[in-house]
Every structure is written in C-alpha cells, then in structure tokens.
C-alpha cells in the first residue's frame, strides 16, 4: 500500500485563471505529472528534478549521509546534481543506523 503524496513545485495558483481555464490547466498538468516510488511510497512531481532536489522534496533525513539507489543502482553523491529522476523511477534512500549495544 502506498501513500499518495502530491508535491507542487510551481508557484502558481488557480486564482490567476478563470474557472474554465483553471480546469483545463489542471487537466493539462495532470497529464504531465511524473510518478516515482521513493522508499516504497508514491511521489508525484510536476517537473523533472535532480537527486539533490529530490532528497529535499522527499524529506530525506540528513541528505549528506544518505545512500541512494536509483532503479537498483547506487548513485555516488558526486552524481546527485547531474542525475535527474523520470516517470516510473524507483528510488531508495538508505540510512546509516548505529545503535545496538549501549
């Protein structure tokens, strides 16, 4: 089961449009929405973003220490700016977890 999460990146509001226009606008936009799976949850994006931005949008904990797998492949931190996610991608954030004894 996945939780649907909508992320609006563009700073546009419906009030700038007439009602009919806004409906068209929304329908048009729906068609462009990309769906990703991030740590098992569906994430919707309205524009392509790189991994660096995705870490922020998807609220990764301590992005500087996270390990990222994009479609099963590890992506080095040096590649976070140049790697863009696309519709249908599966992204895993893997975290350090200490603890156990003390």
């Amino acid at each position: 089961m996945s939780v649907l999460k909508r992320v609006v990146l563009l700073d546009l509001t419906a009030k700038e449009f007439e009602f009919d226009q806004s409906v068209d606008f929304i329908q048009e936009r729906q068609a462009e929405i990309m769906k990703l799976t991030v740590n098992g949850e569906t994430l919707e994006l309205e524009q392509p973003i790189n991994l660096k931005a995705l870490l922020v949008v998807a609220e990764a904990n301590q992005p500087e220490y996270v390990t990222v797998q994009l479609n099963g492949e590890f992506v080095d931190h040096s590649g976070f700016e140049d790697t863009f996610v696309k519709d249908g991608d599966t992204v895993e954030f893997l975290y350090f977890m200490g603890g156990g004894a003390r």
Binding site: N39, Y65, E92, F96, G99, G100
Partner: protein
Amino acid sequence: MSSLTNEQLERYSRHILLQQVGGKGQMKLLQGRVLIIGTGGLGSPAAMYLAAAGVGQIGLVDSDVVDMSNLQRQIIHQTKDVGRPKIESGRETIEAINPDVQVHTYNEMVRADNIRDIIRDQGYDFIIDGTDNFPAKFLINDACVLEKKAYSHAGIIRFQGQTMTYVPGQGPCYRCVFPTMPPKDAVPTCRQAGVLGVMGGVIGTLQATEALKYLLGVGNLLTGYLLTYDALTMTFRKVKLRQNPHCGVCGEHPTITELVDYEQPACDLRNH
C-alpha cells in the same frame, strides 16, 4: 556427540517436529558455532534465542560492564548484574537457559589486531554484529569479508531498525551500501537519540533467525537485501541491494586488504 539424548529429544522436540530441522538439523545446531559481538540490545535476544535453540558454541565479545540504563532493553542482564562485566552475566544467563551450550567469552572490544583471531578462535560459522558504533560495524564487515565469514549486520535507533546478511560471494557487504563511515557526531546513536527497548528484541531476534537458517541451510537469507522496520507505522520493507563493483573491500579491485582501527565513535558520550 553423534546422537541426541533423551533429554535433548524432549528439549528440542518442537524443532525436531519441523520438516526443515528434524533430528539432523538439531544436530547441526548443536555443532554450530556463532560469535556475537556486543551483548547489548541486539546481542541479548540473539544470544538467548540461539542458546535456547541449542547452538552448541556461542562466543560473546564485550568489554563493558552492565549499567542501569542497559536494563530497559538488554534482557540478558538483570538488575543484580549492574556493575558486572557483560560477558559474565551473559554467560550466566545462557548457561541457565541451556546447559548444552558452551560459552566462550572475550572481555575486550573488537579491534583491528584482535578481531580475526577472535573469529578464528573457535572457528565460528556465523557472526552477529550487535555493536553500537560505526567503527566497530565497519571493522566487523571488513573482517568478515577478509575471513570469508557470513555475518548479520543490524542497527537500531528510536523506533527504527534495519538488518542485512552478508554471505561471501553471494551478495553485497555493508560497505557496498555505505562505502565510508559517517563523520564524528554526524549520525546519532541510541545513546544520544534513544531507542524503544523492544527494537533490539525484534531486530536481534531476526539476526538469530538468520544464524539458525544459515546453520541449518534452509530458506532464503537476507543476502542482497536490507530489511528495514519502522515500529511507529508497523512497516517492514525489504530493499533489494546490488553488490557494488567499486566496493573497497569486496569489489573487483579492493583497496582494503588488511584491517586498520577506524576513528573512535563520535557517539561515545560515556564521559559527557
């Protein structure tokens, strides 16, 4: 030991009933050797279940003494044990659970210069990482890769836990996923962030399960997977992992060919 005694037939009867265990499997467990590094939140339940299961040789590594703040989750130690070396109370609990088990204790921290000897000491089959800090976790990983030993990695914090199993040549190691240690104080540990007591019970018991499956040669191990558990949402996730060809210790061109001591854990706030 070539066959089970009447007492053992009774003690292990619920195992023997299992098609995947049976008398033969129980004999494998009795001949099994598991090393548990850290007798804390993870190591406690792991050691107790492995003892109850009849794993014949159990090694315990820990240099700590029992602290009052350990008792909320480190169930191998009891109130009367506060101030005693953990390996001693650990041994006592195991021997009380099952006299079939022979306990080997190592009252020391794992270091680059002793870990391979400890692993070789009893020819352990499987190692359980129940440590609380990254230098130890990376050291155990590298030592197990170099010694070609299967081991279970795990970590717990707050309401979360995760575990993966390394088997030589069959999948990624911890360093494939996390190439380098986080810097000092960057990632909190239980001592700093807290942990729900039962987290060690859940994850440590999963580690014991992997050890038993490995000794029995049954089922699928968490090789090539990281299992994560979130107690607040009651969600388990099994994330598939690939082996990293650039891994420093198990990759195609390893740069780590002998062990070194890594920096002291940032999380060690004992004196703070």
